[in-house]
Symmetry: C2
Subunit: 131 residues, 2 copies
DNA sequence: ATAATTCCCATGAATTTAGTAGGAATATAA
DNA sequence: TTATATTCCTACTAAATTCATGGGAATTAT
């Protein structure tokens, strides 16, 4: 029930990008160095962020990454939803409830409520708030 | 960021014990069978619950387990705090903040707030509420 | 004594998370 | 056009954690 390193790295990198006011993209090399995140691991994370549309990439020389939306509109929830393989408290609380006990499970409402509470809280923090 | 099987098992077993109105203890064998939890795994879980004082054990023949407090006073937070090896959202948010970045970490307040929100919510659910 | 039980310690299997490696594709600039 | 800096893609390995099992000692009612 802990946020993964991947998720924390992603948040850190997004904050770093948010701090970078200029329009020129920031290369991975620089991000990895400055934020002390393993280069290749971060590469995989950036790929997910790009696919999710949170970040834009520019290929080739002088390329790199930049936020694809203003820092005021990107929330911690947006980021962690992508990096956390399971963003829910209990697997059964998710949409694909394959738990055979789901029907009569007395705790399901609690897991749902927990998910909602977490989501609500994380939505309150935008990248701008961290700067 | 998911609640472990161990935690869910623990909650289920505690609910089962709460349902058992009689004063006689319920043996592990019966609990494991009824709740479809691997016997030996549950044994380890019960051991932790006993050590934490949530459950009383009676050894020897006709022995077993029973709640050590009324079902109205034991909350989901009490149970999960014990079974989840990390009950916090981010390791750094815990008391033993060994993260070298803790000083200047912009996200720490969020992790703290998240922990608080989770704890508050889980405290609202007592064993009695699940029955 | 016997049987039913909890307790304790050690080990193994499965899954997930974290991190690494190599090279193809793309774009800039000299 | 060639060198260089970059992202993108696929596969793999290592480490950690979670889940589960096994064997037997201690305890207690009958």
């Amino acid at each position: 029930m802990i946020v993964s390193a991947k998720g924390r790295y992603a948040l850190r990198v997004m904050i770093a990008l948010a701090k970078h006011e200029k329009d020129e993209p920031v290369p991975l090399k620089e991000l990895a160095l400055r934020e002390e995140i393993p280069y290749k691991f971060l590469e995989a994370i950036m790929c997910e962020l790009v696919k999710a549309g949170l970040v834009e990439s520019v290929r080739g020389k002088n390329g790199g990454y930049r936020l694809s939306a203003p820092k005021e509109t990107c929330t911690a929830a947006d980021i962690l939803r992508i990096t956390e393989t399971s963003f829910t408290a209990a697997a059964c609380a998710g949409g694909s409830a394959d738990c055979p006990r789901a029907e009569m499970c007395p705790t399901l409402p609690m897991w749902r409520a927990l998910d909602d509470a977490v989501e609500e809280l994380l939505k309150k923090y935008t990248l701008a708030d961290f700067i």
